[in-house]
Structures are given as C-alpha cells and as structure tokens.
Symmetry: C2
C-alpha cells in the first residue's frame, strides 16, 4: 500500500516542486480543476494592477504604443509557440477558443473547397467538446459541408475520399483520452484531408509538436493549463504553408495589413496576424502573460517533457491510490491506463451518485468537477463510457503535489465510506462549469 509518507517523499524529490511557489493555493483546498480554470499565479495581481493604474490610468491612450498593448497578441503568441511546437510568429493570442475555431475551420474549408470541391465532409469525434461541434455545424450549414461524428476509435476508418477536414480535440474534455496527433494527421494527409487540432486540454499539459506532426491548423485555450485567468484569451495557429493563402471571415481591422491607414478595403496582414479581428481585452491579455510565464518557468527545469513526467506520475499515483484504497466502492476508471493515450486528468465513473460525490468532495475542499452523461443520441453508433456521469480530476504538474493526491483520495474514501454523498444538500443540481 502506498503511504502518505511515500507521497511526501515524492514531493521532496520532485525537481518541479519549486514552481508551486509561483501560485496562490487557497488554504484548505486541494485543487484538481486546473483543467477547467488554472490557479492564480502570484505575479498576476501586481501586474494587472500596474496595467490599470500606470498603463491605463497614467499612460491612457499613449500606452497602445508605449506599453506595447498593440503587440500583445503576437508577443503572447510567441510565448505559447514553444509550448506547442510552433515557430515564433506563427501563433497569436486572441479572442475565445470558439471564435478562433470559426476562423481556422473557415479557412480550412476554403482551402479544401479549392483543392477538391467534391470533398464535403468534416470528420470529428462524437464526444468532442460541444462548442467545437456547434461551430462546425454552423460552418457546414453556411458552406454546404457535412459533419461526420464517430467514436474515438473510428476516426481513422472514417477518413474516406469525401473528407475535407479532420477536426479533433487532442485530449478529450470528458474522458482524458489523448489522440496520437502525428499518426492521425498523417492519416488525414494520406486521405488528402486537412488536420485541425483543438489543444484546449493539451497546451501546457502534455507535450505537443504541431510542426513535427505537420498539422494544418490549431487553436487552444488560455485559462486552463496556461493559468491565464477566467475567460483568458485563446490562441490560433496556422501552419506557415497556409498562413498567407486565405482570408478568414472575421476580417477586422486588427488583421489588416495596415490597420492605421484606415483604408476602406480589407487587405489581410501577412501571416498569422490576419487571424486577428477586433481590439483585444488588454487587462485579460496582461493576466494571460503572467500565466504563460509560469509555464515557461519550467523550461530550465526540463520544460514540457519534465512537466509530462510529473503529470504521468501524478495521474498514475491517483489511479493506484483509488484502486488500492477505494476498491469495492463501485468506482470505475474511464481515462486510459496507457500513458500515450492519457492527458493530464483522470476520470472516474460510478453507476450512482457521481454528481453528489463531487459535491461532497468540493465541500471538503477537494475541487474536481462533474460531467453529466451525454444524451443517448450521442452514442448511436457507440457506447457511453460513463453512463453514470463522470467525476473529473485534473492534475496540473506546475502546482499539484503528490501528497495532495494522497489527501484527495483519502477524502474520496471518507465520502464513500460515510455515504456522505447521500446527503440531500449534495444532490441539489445547480449550474456547473
């Protein structure tokens, strides 16, 4: 049996442990929801206060130049680039993930349309994050394409000769299942389709190499593992081979070749800058930069490879402890055991009480989240791996410790043994994120 002492030893030997000091972890909280909203970096409050009182308050309009506000999408993009295997200058931080998906999927469909107009299908995963499917549905409706949804194991066989674009989320938000980006991108290219990746649960969580995988388009989220704060701006990347070729439809002035000439005709900026649209929320951008700096602080300690080693050690430990200590309580593992198929989260399911167990844990300060079963229609050709709903636990190696994992499972065991989840207050549903 793994002991608390052993977990403390693991923390003592963890070369990344020093990074935890860069964050504010509330007293009494074991935070396993960094896959939904990353923890507050210590540097953020002062940095945003300076942006407000000095840059805005004193500099006023002059700060667009003097404080570098106007260049923030590119400067932050250059900081995200090394985390996802992109070149500086090929990525911008801007807008929301959904809006960025609209831009890049739209550009992908235009390329596909020109290359092979008979290819009218977008392949994606049935249990992809809903907003990705909604945006794809919208563009299908606009442009005369069809969305073909399959289970995760059926992606490759679905790449028939009618496929224009393969659009996948690298790590599934519900199950933590991770696709093989390189293999599926190659399969898409063999099938003469483009490959578009959503890195919402990957950037800052698992090593990603967009260039090595030869991906075509990617988007990702700033407020999960990148610790940018609630609703932090997202990012968009386009492979340089496509960057100058197509306009995206959200053709706003920030994506113009000469935004301050105020010419009446749109002329897209070269490269990734044309994926910008309107004026960006500077306070949220500034906070995002502080988040990115926490991830970049791991670079001298081994970077994403070291973070990945620790992430796998954390999720392995959680799985082992749940199986050792909570055996016989009806919990089942949803996330794959195979390292190469696992993101930085672990999902469990249980026939009954999954929602209430999560609420009982939150009341104890162990913050994970719950994801409801998907509607039956979602699984028409497959099966729901979690018919009782999902208990979702994210492990951010920058600030999560091994002893945290031990205590989290200890609380889980108490909730189960004491049947705490039967209490009425933990069974009242309210909005969850």
């Amino acid at each position: 049996m793994i002991s608390a002492h052993h977990c403390r030893d693991m923390d003592a030997q963890d070369p990344l442990r020093v990074l935890r000091d860069r964050f504010v972890i509330p007293d009494g909280v074991i935070y396993l929801d960094g896959n939904s909203l990353g923890v507050l970096p210590r540097a953020t409050a002062d940095r945003v206060a300076r942006a407000i009182t000095e840059e805005w308050g004193q500099g006023l309009i002059r700060s667009w130049n003097s404080a570098g506000w106007f260049g923030l999408p590119q400067r932050l993009g250059d900081k995200i680039a090394p985390l996802v295997g992109a070149q500086p200058g090929d990525l911008v931080a801007t807008d929301s993930t959904s809006v960025n998906l609209y831009k890049v999927l739209s550009a992908a469909l235009r390329i596909a349309d020109q290359r092979a107009p008979t290819r009218r299908v977008i392949v994606s995963e049935r249990s992809n994050f809903p907003t990705d499917l909604y945006i794809a549905q919208s563009l299908c409706h606009e442009r005369g394409f069809q969305l073909r949804l399959v289970d995760d194991a059926q992606v490759e066989p679905a790449l028939a000769d009618d496929v224009a674009v393969l659009m996948l989320t690298h790590v599934n938000y519900r199950t933590g299942f991770m696709h093989d980006m390189k293999l599926l991108t190659a399969a898409a290219h063999r099938a003469q389709a483009l490959a578009l990746w959503d890195l919402a649960h990957s950037a800052g969580a698992v090593p990603v190499d967009l260039q090595a995988a030869d991906a075509d388009f990617a988007i990702g989220c700033g407020y999960k593992y990148l610790n940018g704060g609630p609703g932090a701006p997202a990012f968009a990347w386009v492979h340089p081979r496509h960057a100058d070729r197509f306009e995206q439809p959200l053709a706003g002035w920030w994506g113009h070749a000469a935004p301050f000439e105020f010419t009446p005709d749109y002329r897209p900026a070269p490269g990734i800058a044309r994926y910008l649209c309107g004026t960006q929320p500077i306070l949220s951008m500034v906070a995002l930069e502080c988040g990115l700096d926490t991830v970049l602080a791991a670079q001298p300690l081994g970077g994403m490879a070291a973070l990945r080693r620790k992430s796998l050690a954390l999720t392995d430990l959680f799985i082992q402890l749940v199986e050792q200590r909570c055996a016989g309580h009806g919990l089942e593992l949803v996330t794959p055991r195979a390292h190469e198929q696992r993101g930085s989260q672990v999902c469990l399911t249980r026939e009954q009480g999954a929602y209430a167990i999560v609420q009982a844990l939150i009341a104890r300060g162990v913050i994970g989240d719950y994801r409801a079963p998907l509607p039956a229609a979602t699984w028409a050709q497959g099966h729901d791996p979690a018919p009782g709903g999902i208990l979702r636990f994210g492990f951010t190696p920058l600030y999560t410790g091994f002893e945290d994992v031990w205590h989290a499972v200890a609380h889980l065991l108490e909730v189960l043994e004491q049947r705490e989840w039967k209490r009425p207050e933990f069974n009242q549903r309210h909005t969850v994120t």
Copy 2:
C-alpha cells in the same frame, strides 16, 4: 472674448462636476481622447484586484457561480440598455465590436435573404470606420451581397429597391458627424431594408433610443465613452422582433439554450443570449462594469439628457474659443455646427501640419489624436472634408471641465504661434490609435 474666469464659473455651476471625482485624471494632462479610450474610473483598480485575489485566487472555479461570472454578459447588458434606449434582457456585453458586427450583420442578411432574396445590397457610408466595412465586405463575399458606399448626405437616396440592409455608424469616428437615427431607420424601413447601427461613438456620449427609432440591430464599444478600459468587451443588441428568429454563425456554447448539458447539437438560447459565443474575459468584463457604473452615476443628475447638454456646451465652447483665439492660423472646422448633427467630439483640419500639431499638443499634456486623410479612392464620388488630415478632440462630459477646454485652446494657440509643430520630433510618424 471668453475668459478663463468665465470657464471656471461654468465649472462651478456645472451640476455634473461631481462626477469627475469618480475618475483618475493624471496630473498635467488635459485628456481629450475619451472617444478613443475612456479615463480610468477610481473604482476599477480595487474591483479588479478583488476579482483576481478573492474571486479567482480563493474562489477558483466556484466563482463561475458564486461570483456571478457566468451571468456577466447579461448583467452588464442590462446596465448598458438604459443608455441606448433598449429594454433589459435585449442586450449583451461580449466579444469585440468587430466580432459582434459579424454576428448581427450576418443575422440581418439571413432575414433579408428570406424576405426578399433579390435584394443584395448593403448601403453604408464611405467614411465609416474601416472595420465595419471590412466585416461587411467579408460577409458580402460569403453570401453574395454587394456593398454600396456613399457619402453621408447620399444615404437616403441610396436606399433603392435592391437594398437589404442599411449599416451605419451613428457618429462618424473621423468627423464627429451624427446621423439622424430615427429618420434614416424610417427611410430604410420604407425601402423595406433593415437598419443596423454601430454605436461606438454614441453609447454614453449622446442620447440614443434604439426602440423609439425602431432600429433592427445595434452594436457598440465598451472602451470609449463607457470607460471600460483598453479593449473592454463590446455589446450587441437585437430588436426583440428578430431575437428568436435567426441563429448567428458564431454558434458557440455560451449561446446554447442549455450550455451545461453539453449536447452535441446546437440549439440557440432564446433571445439575445444566442449572440454569445465563447467564454468571456472576466477581468476585462469586471472592469467594464466599473466603467458602466460611472455613466449610470449620472442618472440621478439627469442621465444622458444632462450629459448631452454638457457635451454640447463643451464642444460649443471649444469651437468658439478656437475661432476667437486661433483665428488666422488656418484651422477649419470639420464637425458640424448644428447640434443635431454633432457627436461629442470636435474635429479640425489644416492644410499643413495637422499631425505635428497633435504631437506638439500631446507633448504639452493635451491629448487628442490625429486621423490621416483617407485614400483618394474613398472619395471617388464625393470630397474629403479634411484633405490635410484631422485633429480630433473628444469631450467626455463625465470628466471634462470647461476650464480644461480653455487651457487646451491656450496650448493650441501657443503651438501655432510659436510654430512648435515645425520641430522635427513632432513630425516623426509612428503607430497611432
């Protein structure tokens, strides 16, 4: 001749003067650029600090519910509504102005397409803010419409029987010319076209009554007269008669009828909520709320009508002082003298030196901005009212005083008399916003 003493008296008698205390005005600065970036409200720094340290830092993911983050687009929308003659529940604060224009213009074109598919023209103004024209061009290209650009005086005659949508900015960003919203909306409706208004330079600056004007769609900006901070989220409004009828293409999960059911099919929320797309930048939203509160603080003092009276008194005073004190220096007024055609800014032009005069003023702490002449092609059927470029001065009645105006013109006179604008350092062009 108007004296400084007289201007001080006007400040002493100004019932809105107390509102100035709600802002941080830097020492030595006379700020006449609130039409580009509003001044920092005193409440903002503490409010955003609380959002960071308490709501994000301590509340973490729980704050989506407990701190009301998820409802911010609607709550802020309800605060903007009374400033533009909208009903609560019909307006949301979200995304950028450009992105919102894409949503509402797209919805407008769909309605037009269903009503009268032979109408394929969007009428707009040649000197409209460029991003509006770029977004319109993009949608024209996507949907098979044409953009017909005319001079401000030619809008009504341009409403022929091929027109689907009239898209105008209420107050022109360069000249300060204000359209008659009610008259032109009625003309559009008589021509069986829809009327879409950009309120970027109107919301918080001049009285707007979208419902009384019977407008169809509107968008606006959060960081100008609403004092929301650099790049603050924008807003979108749709007349209730259209709200439930059409989906907009940026169909993200925040616009879904049940975003937390995570269903694979998009089902638009009822009403204006369907104009939301992805997760919003909460820190920038929180700052926007502080800005809105500064404008709402004028409600007990007479609201937008009182602000408008003061705004006209300020711009009248500026025009009079320039004409009295700077006569013979080659300055010409671009903004209309008629109150009903004037926004809350005054624009001057000069054959030579407009750019350098603005730089010399900024060096003296009098912050306005410069707008370059538009390319010749812009004026193919009209004339550029400011071939030498524009000196633009915005007057925000919440915090601009009458004595400020006096001093601003005194500085302008010194710059002209001392030929300060001839200095090389004021003639070096750099990026301006």
